[in-house]
């Protein structure tokens, strides 16, 4: 593997034509222009897709658009110079709802829940023990990538703790209350732990096993909410360990992002994960970190370096801020500097992989590809010294 291998964390924005199609809105000239532009970037023929779009009654239209989108995402990543690729999660709606709708025992709440400013999300209730509904979905997704990718692939899937955090834990809360009626905090811990472990055993692990059979070599577990509850971080570790135990010959990594920074305690950021993550199963060898958003690499990396003797993880270094307000402000030179700074801090450049802070789905497709190009240019500069 080359020095400072580059990968994408997960999602890319969807093609506008696809979004409009799903919303039963007309596909505009601008959408067609975007397809042509993206086809050129990907080096693939836009005509088959444009033909399908013209034939408005074709029943396979949706699938064709999604397949084309997934293939184009792969090719754009390869052509731009990423070393490890995936399909930009082209077949998935949104991180949580994509997972939740494929779980028996989960049910939609009747209303969308307020989350961040004017944004809302579709929350699910856990009504009984969760199980995966349809294992074929992830197999088909990975098979498409395996068939078409010209570079090594890394598949991102949810970690169980993230799903547990975002779910109304009705079933296990009721059970835990019966066991800990005099200790509500213990009841909450127990309920979260039971849901996380059930999701690990019955939902995530079956997908990992299916991916192993399909030939996956690198699985990334997405854990954006690892630090959301300071008391429950050990549950996050337990959940991951439950997923990977007994699974061999696969590289496992964890994507961590936006750790709590205003905690009202004496620990902040990634420091909150320690010492708990030292107990992660040894099969977890790689952590992908959001770092560019705060641009305080020394402080954010300090706990990993402090514990390097006990556990030296490979680190995916977030060198692109992907927030809507700041995305695109980095230059190749700034990226070169960030990579060199990180490699020096880690004392071993072979531990450093290069990535955006997180998935890019909140941006426009044009902005996302511009970020890829800057990331690759900056990394190439860093490789030269």
């Amino acid at each position: 593997m080359t020095l400072f291998p580059i990968y994408e964390v997960g999602s890319l924005p969807k093609l506008n034509a696809r979004v409009n199609h799903l919303q039963q809105k007309p596909i505009t000239t601008k959408d067609i222009q975007q397809i042509n532009w993206y086809a050129k970037k990907a080096g693939i023929d836009p005509e088959p897709l444009l033909e399908i779009i013209k034939q408005k009654t074709t029943p396979d239209r949706k699938q064709a658009i999604i397949d084309w989108n997934a293939l184009a995402n792969l090719r754009v990543q390869e052509n731009t110079g990423l070393d490890i690729v995936y399909d930009g999660e082209a077949r998935r709606s949104e991180m949580y709802s994509h997972a939740a709708r494929n779980i028996t025992g989960f049910q939609d709440l009747p209303e969308m829940i307020r989350c961040r400013g004017p944004d809302s999300w579709k929350k699910n209730t856990c009504e009984h023990e969760p199980h995966i509904k349809n294992i074929d979905e992830v197999e088909k997704e990975y098979n498409f990538v395996k068939t078409n990718a010209r570079k090594p692939a890394k598949i991102p899937i949810n970690d169980p703790y993230m799903i547990a955090n975002m779910t109304d834990n009705k079933h296990y809360t009721a059970l835990a209350r019966a066991n800990y009626s005099d200790n509500p905090r213990q009841a909450r811990y127990e309920a979260k732990q039971q849901l996380t472990l059930a999701l690990a055993r019955n939902v995530i692990k079956p997908q990992v096993k299916a991916l192993q059979k399909t030939g996956a070599t690198w699985i990334q577990l997405d854990a954006p909410s690892a630090t959301i509850d300071l008391e429950h971080i050990p549950i996050f570790v337990e959940g991951i360990n439950e997923v990977v135990c007994g699974i061999d010959d696969i590289k496992f990594s964890i994507h961590l992002c936006y750790p709590r920074r205003k905690t009202l305690t004496n620990k902040q950021g990634y420091e909150l994960l320690f010492p708990h993550i030292l107990n992660l199963d040894k099969k977890i060898t790689h952590l992908s970190l959001e770092l560019a958003n705060t641009d305080n690499y020394e402080k954010d990396l300090e706990p990993f370096i402090k514990h390097q003797q006990e556990r030296a993880f490979e680190l995916g270094i977030g060198i692109l801020d992907i927030t809507q307000e700041k995305a695109g402000h980095e230059t190749p030179e700034l990226i070169r500097q960030r990579i060199h700074k990180t490699a020096k801090l880690l004392r071993d450049p072979n531990l450093a992989y290069i990535a955006p802070d997180c998935g890019l789905r909140q941006l426009t497709l044009e902005k996302a590809i511009q970020l890829y190009e800057t990331m690759v240019q900056g990394t190439e500069l860093a490789r030269k010294g």
Binding site: E111, I113, R114, C115, N169, P184
Partner: protein
């Protein structure tokens, strides 16, 4: 619990303590407006309709205080940031251990302390038995990025004076109870992170805004345990202390010469409690604490479980009160 307390005359009441879950219609109106496919007027009409509906529901359920359901703001600090010169925002943070976020206030001295920030929507409330919810000065201070003050005491003085002015204005408009939301103090207590300075700051702030003419005041704590704090709470300059019983073990409560609000209903899950069990526990707490009034409430707002589930919470409050009387 100590069963040897003699029987006392108990007074129980019920109310809601925070923002209500949004209806699907309001979500759709807001989403269409966000995507510029509909105008503000449609959202405003839905907001107003839902606000009136929820106020009516509270009245029908016999709640003792009626609150605005909070559809006009998305986090506790939003009205401050929107209206107060000297308070802005640049970033968001997790709202404690929830999958929701708040805009971190950037407070720059000096604050304009005479500006009203939360009074715009009180006209929809009934004429009596109404409660307004304001952030407690200590929570504002600790969850904000504060600039331009020589020390924390100077900053909390300004913040508490701002809140005092707002609470007094609300009281002149007919609000009869002011709830100061105070999650930060007990959250720190849960994580053994309270320092002597923290006790002084909260105490000092409440000396500036804790008593409001023509209104009772409640320091409503949530997202943390009150264990070990009862003696301190008793001396605070407010009429009522709110305690999160989804975080605090009931047997750690102590006798207190104040009203207490017990957040017995976990507003972050749809796993609903049994009204008979709630009533039984409320009676035990009343006996044990000898508090002059016990208010039974959810621990916090119900915005994390949605509109339908919140209506169930109101129904549970009604049933619990019936079981007590």
């Amino acid at each position: 619990m100590n069963p040897n307390f003699s029987s006392i005359t108990m007074r129980f009441g019920t109310y809601l303590t925070g923002p209500f879950g949004q209806s699907q219609q309001l979500y759709e109106a807001r989403n269409e407006e966000k995507r510029q496919r509909a105008d503000k007027k449609t959202t405003e009409q839905q907001r107003q309709k839902d606000t009136i509906d929820i106020i009516t529901l509270q009245q029908q359920a016999g709640l003792d205080y009626i609150i605005d359901p909070g559809f006009y703001h998305d986090d506790i600090f939003e009205t401050l940031i929107r209206n107060i010169p000297g308070i802005a925002t640049k970033r968001q943070e997790n709202w404690f251990n929830n999958n929701t976020f708040y805009n971190v206030p950037q407070i720059t001295a000096p604050l304009n302390k005479q500006t009203e920030f939360s009074t715009k929507h009180t006209h929809l409330l009934p004429k009596e038995k109404t409660m307004a919810i304001l952030p407690s000065p200590y929570t504002i201070l600790t969850l904000s990025d504060v600039h331009g003050y020589p020390d924390q005491l100077s900053a909390i003085t300004d913040i508490a004076q701002l809140i005092d002015h707002e609470a007094r204005t609300l009281a002149t408009k007919g609000i009869t109870r002011i709830q100061y939301d105070e999650p930060a103090f007990v959250y720190k207590n849960s994580h053994s992170a309270l320092m002597p300075e923290d006790y002084k700051l909260l105490d000092y702030a409440l000396n500036l805004c804790g008593q409001i003419p023509n209104a009772t005041t409640s320091l409503h704590t949530y997202f943390g345990t009150a264990e070990g704090l009862m003696d301190y709470f008793e001396d605070l300059y407010v009429d009522c202390i709110g305690i999160d019983l989804t975080e605090t073990r009931p047997e750690t409560l102590k006798p207190i010469k104040k009203e207490i609000t017990i957040g017995m209903i976990d507003a972050r899950t749809t796993a609903r409690e049994n009204p008979q069990n709630l009533a039984k526990l409320a009676k035990e707490i009343a006996q044990h604490t000898q508090a002059e009034t016990i208010w039974i409430t959810p621990n916090t707002g119900t915005d994390q479980i949605g509109y339908t589930a919140t209506k169930e919470v109101i129904n549970l409050l009604r049933k619990t009160k019936e079981a007590l009387t």
